[in-house]
């Protein structure tokens, strides 16, 4: 039911269904799980090209509204376990965020806890967030090469502060390549958001084994 509503972008229908289930006393976490599953289906359809970006943006909006409806119920229940934590940033020197935000949306849909720091992000902000959040992944996104220097700088600080060992470093975006990956010592590089999501899922699976 939720899956069809999401894929066909029937906002009202999805919200009615969710509200109805809440009123019937359905577990909020169970409903959220269904919504996440529906978003995964949407993400797959986006990847295969049958759904377009604008449609995925709308489904993400619907998902957000579902979460808002479920929030009171979830606060009462045990805190929801995310399947992994990631800190995302477009580093200092670049202000492009479209690719990064698509990646963030896909990750949220998969149940990741995403800390999206925005664009032109100072190394110190990344370092502080890593220290506070203790993420499984840190992702740098860039469309132009001016962000490379601060990527390197941020990574060097993370190493010198002894924080680098606790997460996988990912770089992504139009200008990234294997040379940059080696330059900053990243664990993964891609220009494809879904490939990045697959990497995160695979890594968490291995981690939890």
């Amino acid at each position: 039911m939720l899956v069809n509503g999401f894929v066909e972008l029937k906002r009202d229908e999805v919200l009615e269904t969710v509200k109805g289930r809440v009123e019937q006393g359905d577990d909020a976490l169970k409903i959220l799980d269904d919504a996440r599953h529906a978003m995964t289906v949407v993400g797959d359809k986006f990847q295969e090209g049958t759904l377009f970006l604008a449609e995925m943006m709308l489904s993400a909006e619907i998902f957000k509204e579902v979460v808002t409806i479920l929030q009171p119920g979830m606060d009462k229940a045990r805190p929801s376990e995310s399947i992994g934590k990631i800190v995302l940033a477009t580093p200092k020197g670049d202000i492009h965020d479209l690719g990064k935000d698509i990646f963030a949306t896909l990750l949220i849909a998969q149940g990741f806890d995403v800390h999206n720091l925005g664009v032109d992000v100072d190394p110190s902000k990344v370092v502080d967030t890593v220290r506070e959040v203790k993420p499984d992944f840190v992702g740098f996104s860039a469309l132009i090469t001016t962000a490379f220097a601060s990527m390197k700088k941020t990574t060097d600080i993370l190493i010198s502060e002894d924080l680098r060992g606790s997460f996988k470093l990912m770089v992504g975006g139009g200008v990234t390549n294997s040379v940059l990956k080696d330059h900053v010592g990243a664990d993964f590089q891609t220009i494809d958001a879904m490939e990045g999501v697959s990497y995160c899922l695979k890594t968490m699976k291995e981690k939890n084994q």
């Binding site: 377009f52 020197g93 202000i95 925005g118 032109d120 001016t146 200008v175």
Partner: protein, 270 residues
């Protein structure tokens, strides 16, 4: 209407390869084709790592200038690359670009002033691209205050109102148009430039979206589009829009393009 030919851009795979391998013939072919198709400037963007970019951009400038006489649009966010390239150009270049981002203005503006260049000014600052017209206009105002302060006249400024994807914000087109309108009210002498393809990101049949957007943008004041002049569809829309808006006296440019086979059905034109 002055077209900035966009094809020599190192963020495109084949161009990057040509820059890395110093393939002069490939670059010169792109330059000649765009010049023949009606470009006024040729954009040159090396797109390489910051430490190589000054040398690579100078190489591009020299390579292009061997075969065409057009002025160049020096496209880099790297001040050192712009500094090096501006010394290598034969004709006064258009610098792409300044913005309200920290460091960018301080580095680039003296270069524009000292070499009497024209310059593209992006309506954004260190916080990214402002969402609404008022904030973009505020950035434009502060940029023009700086260029005026540096003694650069308004008619040498090309404001890029910035185009974002309709797929992620349905007002993207309107915000760009209204930013131009609001800017022109305050600064009637400035020009307007923009890239077209961001508008259609994530949509099917992007070319249809791009060319429709071009027509509407020209009506809204765009007079220096960044585009591929070899794209027949776009050039048709551009010439026709100019004519319909009354900017092509006696329809001469339109008719000339027809005679040269640049518009209309390719096989029928004579």
């Amino acid at each position: 209407m002055k077209i900035i030919g966009e094809k020599i851009n190192g963020t495109l795979k084949l161009v990057r390869k040509a820059v890395e391998e110093k393939d002069e013939a490939f670059i010169q072919d792109l330059a000649k084709q765009q010049a023949d198709a009606g470009a006024y400037w040729l954009d040159v963007n090396a797109g390489t790592l910051p430490e190589h970019e000054p040398d690579d951009l100078v190489w591009l400038v020299r390579t292009v200038q061997e075969v065409v006489d057009l002025p160049l649009c020096l496209d880099s966010a790297n001040v050192e690359a712009l500094k090096a390239a501006v010394k290598a150009v034969k004709k006064t270049p258009l610098i792409n670009s300044i913005s309200g981002e920290s460091g960018r203005l301080e580095g680039v503006l003296p270069l524009v002033k000292d070499h009497d260049c024209e310059v593209i000014a992006l309506a954004m600052d260190g916080n990214g691209i402002p969402a609404d017209v008022e904030s973009r206009l505020a950035v434009v105002k502060s940029l023009i205050a700086e260029t005026r302060n540096a003694g650069i006249s308004d008619d040498r400024i090309y404001i890029d109102p910035l185009v974002t994807a309709l797929a992620t914000g349905i007002q993207s087109g309107q915000v760009a148009f209204k930013t131009m309108e609001a800017t022109r009210l305050e600064f009637p002498d400035v020009h307007f430039t923009m890239g077209l393809s961001n508008i259609s990101f994530g949509l099917p049949e992007r070319k249809v979206v791009n060319k429709t957007f071009l027509a509407l943008a020209i009506a809204a004041g765009l007079d220096a589009p960044i585009l591929d002049p070899l794209d027949r569809d776009l050039m048709e829309i551009l010439l026709t829009s100019e004519m319909v808006l009354g900017n092509d006296n006696y329809c001469l440019n339109y008719i000339k393009a027809f005679r040269e086979g640049k518009i209309g059905n390719k096989t029928d034109s004579k």
